[in-house]
Subunit: 193 residues, 2 copies
């Protein structure tokens, strides 16, 4: 494999395992074995596990932002419908995955956010970008009079992101979509009214 | 030290370290060293790290439920004021701890909730009990007409808990109380109106 290709296969394998098992709970050997890359070659591609973690954060951030972007620019639906469809899709993914794994950005924030300054900084930016996508969508909804002008899009977009992350967390032990359904119900029928 | 005392000192040391560093990221040796207990005696007190984790979940659950109980039965304040004071106190603790650590139950749920069936089950019960405390407080607020009768105390109490956990998570990388303040503001000025 070419160097870039090998690096990507380590990242893909790591993303899948770490999203399910956690960052500190996953050994590099397991990732390399899954990626089919010889032991010992890890440090050829990454300076440290933390450096690998930083690239993983970029990987997950790109994924979720692209997913949000695809939904939030879908002109076949109104801004509010786009947001509803995004949360619905993520909920269905969570159901399909048997309520395991959840949001990789949320998981890494919980595990590494206040332990590693470099990962914490990157995760903070990732969450701000996600919140920014909600904000744009809320402002578009306001411009189309779908939600009240009085709603503070900045503060509510952060609240939406954090509450959704909290609901995703709860789902892991409730083994049901109920926390996400309660979140969607309250968001669209109360908070954005 | 007597057997029970030694066991407690391992739990106290483990609670402090694991709340800050995480479950999988903390080695038993570090806990035993902090507790001043000889290496190798861990398995005299606990069957496994998971068994130790289960006792830690009980430890944290008792702590937070007692804290909630103390606030929610404080007759010097109305039910809604009690809830406000609870969230305010937890926010101030988070500020004093420099936005590190957070809610041990939330952290353990994120880390172990979908990996360990026994810990996940205990954490699920802990979160249901916490949500139950919010529910009782909301129902008392309803009985005193502090909040609308139309509020579904069951669903809102779960939403409150999950959203608060999500805000606590965000605080870890924002290094500010802003996510908690936004949560409190929206809860008391919009959701419970």
């Amino acid at each position: 494999m070419a160097k870039k290709e090998t690096k990507l296969s380590i990242l893909f394998a790591g993303a899948e395992i770490i999203r399910k098992k956690g960052f500190y709970n996953t050994g590099l050997m397991e990732i390399l074995k899954t990626a089919g890359v010889p032991k010992g070659s890890f440090y050829f591609y990454f300076d440290s596990k933390e450096d690998f973690g930083a690239e993983l954060v970029d990987f997950f951030t790109d994924y979720i932002l692209q997913n949000m972007e695809a939904h939030f620019t879908d002109e076949g639906f109104s801004p509010l419908e786009r947001m509803k469809r995004f949360f619905e899709e993520r909920r269905i993914v969570m159901e399909e995955e048997n309520f395991k794994g959840g949001c990789a950005i949320g998981n890494l924030t919980q595990e590494t956010g206040d332990l590693s300054e470099s990962l914490g900084g990157k995760l903070n930016l990732a969450l701000r970008k996600m919140s920014g996508k909600f904000k744009e969508c809320l402002e578009e909804a306001q411009s189309m009079n779908e939600i009240p002008q009085s709603i503070d899009s900045d503060s509510i977009s952060n609240f939406i992101l954090n509450s959704w992350e909290g609901a995703m967390l709860r789902v892991k032990v409730e083994h049901s979509s109920e926390p996400l359904l309660q979140f969607e119900e309250l968001l669209f029928n109360k908070i954005l009214k």
